[in-house]
Symmetry: C2
Subunit: 638 residues, 2 copies
């Protein structure tokens, strides 16, 4: 069967580019502040094939170009005759600003991933394709979302116009079926936002419309149209299956888990986005958390691969991922984690040159001790908060250490381990104190924040005794400034789970996420401070409705319940080996499913009896201090 | 006065891209086989200004984006209010696939070359602009050609359709004013081509049309429309002034010079193109000759700078210019020659990082002796012909030597001279023989062709005695294969002129170029073999009408008459110093004008009296073995 093919990675480059130019707020476009690579304007596809008998094929394309069969030129979209025997076909396509791609479906030769593709004489790669685009009428320049007609659940007149409530957060196009007069359509994640009107810090997204018609895809729950109108929505989504599951005796946990899953699903589109209302950009740090969460919800390798390709540099690197040093590190760490989850060595070998380019860039900007320092154009981020940035950050160095290890994992090359070991010693020498890791050099500041200490626990940078010191002197120490963003809050919860404090995370789940739902949330928010109340709680970044109310990084419970309560983790690429180490924490019963590339792992704990089922081998159950092999396709009950 | 501004160099990148995707033949698009860089999709413009009093400005843009004045956001194309005092404005624009650019015209702040521009946080450069785009209604994405309505000089019925003759080669759009039925429009540089019909090797360019209308710009002299029609043409050209002139006692030389000038003008568009019918691409080797010719016809720095920017790599280099090793060398040599002609140190400093990148690429692919050798993806071209390529070519090494020298000239750095000197010795050791320069190593082949020997003379690589050996053993030796392309034929004529054999070039002028005109040429051809006759002489590359009949590199007489008969050459950047060394050759009288960046130099030789006039100082006249200072603005008569 023929599939549309392109220079591998360019489908992602093309859609990444489109995505980064869709941000809008207060009636203004907001282009990104980092470089986004353009797809190559010209590519050449080649294939040698043997025809049993003569025939003819037609080559469809996006772009202009020519088909060359055995050195004879033919136009696109016209029959190309071939005889029985061996032939070489090449297709040259130019499509500046678009995605050059072709499609041939024929009994002798069809386009698929076995074709070779080059741009401007560069070393050829195997073609990129997806089974989704397998008809000549398809267009890979249009991302293959699914659509569903959705009606508002309520609609009422308001100040001469109409206020619609769809009952839940949605992403998609508003279809105005009838409009009485030119009007403005205001999009609201909250009813207050929909009614806030135009102006800086007011309603984030609105559009002036003259007549009935279809508007572009955007996020909303509420719509306010300033004149009488009738409308419906075309919900636009990625048809991903939510294979993960979790429920337990605590009332409401399933609801929270489901809302997290819906939130995360809404943010899982061309790539893992930060949120659906505002940036809709691909951020390296957010993406790394999304990749973790996705492993326990979808276990879909395609969106992870697309996200990695969107974030990696293509041909050259002159800035960090999103300009942020730590995001470059998180991206390389993610590639290694992807390999552990999916075992896709072929993909890793394709992206490895890009990963090495980014790694070399990171290392080229280190100081003479091999520490990450701030260079021109760098954004040393780690997190919003009180980290003392008067010198090199310990958190950046721990990320660099993990980056060295990830490179070792991806390449099997010892040299990276040596670098990691040397660095580890230096980090302890310069940043470790009796109170945990300092923010920076002791001669500059004795300030301690949670971040480096959390990363040290998460990455097993510290031994048990050191971890214990971090737990007591930092994580459980109210004198150390609290994390203020859900981004690092997730890492803190993960670190606590890792240190056996799952109960804290479970309590947070009900206390924190539960409180969001109690306020009427239908999706999880970018940030939540229960004390703020509403509508004050909708504000962020100094804007009245600046907060995203549907944000990927707030779906962390899916990860920590799957990883630390159900206790499933891969220990060899592609779940060739894995462990299941359940921990009920404060639940008296729980059950759940962890999806993997090899099949779904089911775990059930009830009445003191634990049941584990995996449809494949390689598993080890760790439970109550004992170990069991988990047989394939057979329930293990202990 | 406000001008449209862009990230410097991107105007050229944008139009270079458009140009490279316009090639068509036999109904098929023909994208190039090298990479063409895309413009950056997102750029940011910044300017600090002081307003004497309050006011407001409007920012126009190509692309979407936002204006930020003192950290407050405003939409494009709406009034932005400012108060008296100092302000900083930045404009972020995204235009993927297009040219992001902006325009502000205001008494307090207008867009011009003093703005700073960055892409994705890269180090800012000063903005690019041209006075041509100075109205808000302008669009720098449309190249600013001039247009002129032209009618066919004859029109007759032919096989149910109409054959139009415009009397001379043109470039522009055909405007079909009336059409009786759907038809095909065939474009011909010759009448035979216009009537050859569709099919491989037949009429190169044609278009099926349904109704009256405007067709895209193409080259033609003849048009055949298969149904009754009325039409005219919109001649599209660059309004360059032909400042150079030449005439002499030999009948017809002025006609030849004028047709060369018209040919060259037709090929001088966004950039110097090879020819106007077929590729319409920018080739490094062709461009270098065009830059030489242009110096004696237009002396317009803008088209030279555009051509250099179109050819240089932008952010990275992974292949030679047009994939050809020698073309990379010729490009660097051209930049140094541009500097000598125009003295534009500011432009040189802007392109120098790109020149260094290309130079480093060349050097990185040399062998351990510092010789250019063939690496994967390289096209070692030099010329079509019989050069023995069984080893490294002496011609490539001489070009490399000249490249080292050019780098020394551009940077003032001694190290390049050292490299050149070391290389020069090695070239003599390995390639020099009693019969001139061998093609390659003597142990591989004793074959000699003209090319390396010509370059050695042109670049003063050899001393007088060695040059003499080359003249007698190679250039005047009928046993050495003749040059078969006009491309290297020009270099051969230049070498002969340099060796005092101007007369040969003058004879060639009348014999060779004159014979083309005698056959009815209205522009100079890509190649001409008088013995072939017509229509056989229209064929090339195995195609019946494959030859371009309007080709830049056949305009060489303008160069060699200006350089060696009028004898003008710059000897310090920007004609700060120059020599005039006239040589009548076989002419009994001649007169001419050589345009320069400092003004036109006029030379007249009649009745044994030589008159030289330059409107600026720095000149030295060399005549009959004596030297004179040429006074500024005063005729020197000797």
């Amino acid at each position: 069967m023929g599939k549309w093919i392109w220079y591998r990675g360019e489908f992602e480059a093309y859609h990444n580019l489109q995505l980064h130019f869709r941000r809008e707020s207060y009636g203004m476009a907001r282009p990104p502040f980092w470089d986004v690579p353009m797809p190559y304007p010209f590519v050449e596809f080649t294939k040698t094939f043997t025809a049993k008998c003569g025939g003819e094929f037609v080559c469809y394309a996006k772009g202009d170009g020519v088909v060359i069969l055995d050195e004879v030129f033919y136009p696109l979209e016209q029959a190309v005759p071939y005889s029985a025997g061996e032939h070489t076909v090449s297709v040259k396509i130019g499509n500046p600003g678009g995605l050059p791609c072709i499609y041939i479906e024929n009994e002798a030769v069809s386009t698929d991933e076995s074709w070779r593709v080059t741009h401007g004489g560069a070393a050829p790669v195997l073609a990129g394709a997806t089974p989704v685009f397998s008809s000549p009428n398809d267009d890979p320049q249009k991302f293959p979302f699914s659509y569903e007609r959705v009606e508002a659940v309520s609609c009422k007149e308001y100040q001469g116009g109409m206020l619609f409530d769809f009952g839940r957060e949605l992403f998609g196009s508003v279809v105005i079926d009838a409009l009485s007069a030119p009007a403005t359509v205001f999009y609201g994640e909250s009813v207050e936002e929909a009614l806030a009107g135009k102006g800086w810090g007011k309603c984030t997204v609105w559009e002036d419309v003259e007549t009935a018609g279809i508007l572009k895809s955007r996020a909303f729950r509420y719509l306010y149209v300033t004149k009488p109108a009738t409308l419906h929505a075309e919900f636009e989504f990625l048809p991903l299956e939510k294979r993960g599951r979790f429920s337990c005796n605590e009332e409401g946990v399933k609801t929270i888990w489901d809302v997290c899953a819906d939130t995360f699903h809404l943010c899982s589109r061309e790539f893992f986005l930060d949120g659906i209302k505002r940036d809709r950009w691909v951020w390296g740090g957010d993406a790394r958390q999304s990749i973790l969460i996705s492993d326990y919800l979808f276990a879909d390798p395609e969106i992870v691969k697309r996200t990695i390709l969107a974030l990696l540099p293509k041909d050259r690197v002159h800035q960090h991922v999103n300009t942020i040093n730590d995001y470059s590190a998180f991206l390389i760490i993610s590639v290694a984690e992807f390999y552990r989850s999916f075992g896709d060595a072929e993909f890793v070998s394709f992206v490895l040159p890009r990963v090495r380019m980014l790694y070399d860039y990171i290392v080229s900007r280190c100081d003479e001790q091999g520490f990450v320092v701030e260079r021109e154009g760098d954004w040393i981020f780690i997190d919003w908060g009180t980290i003392d940035q008067s010198g090199p950050l310990s958190a950046e160095q721990i990320l660099l250490w993990k980056t060295h290890l990830s490179m070792a994992e991806l390449t099997g090359e010892e040299a990276y381990l040596d670098r990691a070991n040397t660095l580890r010693e230096r980090i302890f020498t310069r940043f470790w104190s009796e109170n945990g890791f300092l923010d920076t050099y002791p001669e500059l500041s004795s300030h301690i924040t949670r971040h480096a200490n959390i990363l040290a626990v998460l990455f097993d940078f510290v031994d048990e005794q050191q971890a214990d010191r971090i737990l007591h002197r930092v994580l459980e120490n109210p004198g150390v400034d609290a994390i203020t963003t859900p981004y690092f809050k997730l890492y803190e919860l993960m670190a606590l789970c890792r240190l056996g404090k799952l109960t804290v995370a479970q309590e947070k789940l009900e206390g924190y996420w539960g409180a969001m739902l109690a306020l009427g949330a239908t999706s999880m928010w970018e940030e939540f401070k229960p004390e703020e109340g509403l509508p004050a709680g909708y504000a962020m970044y100094g804007e009245e409705f600046g907060k995203s109310l549907c944000h990927a990084w707030s779906s962390g419970p899916i990860y920590f319940l799957g990883r630390y309560c159900l206790g499933v983790s891969s220990t060899a690429p592609g779940f060739a080996a894995f462990t299941v180490a359940p921990n009920p924490g404060r639940y008296t019963w729980f059950e759940g499913v962890v999806p993997t590339v090899r099949g779904d792992i089911r775990i059930n704990y009830r009445d003191g009896k634990l049941t584990v089922f995996a449809p494949f081998d390689g598993g080890t159950l760790l439970w109550n201090g004992s170990e069991w092999d988990i047989p394939a396709n057979e329930e293990l009950v202990v």
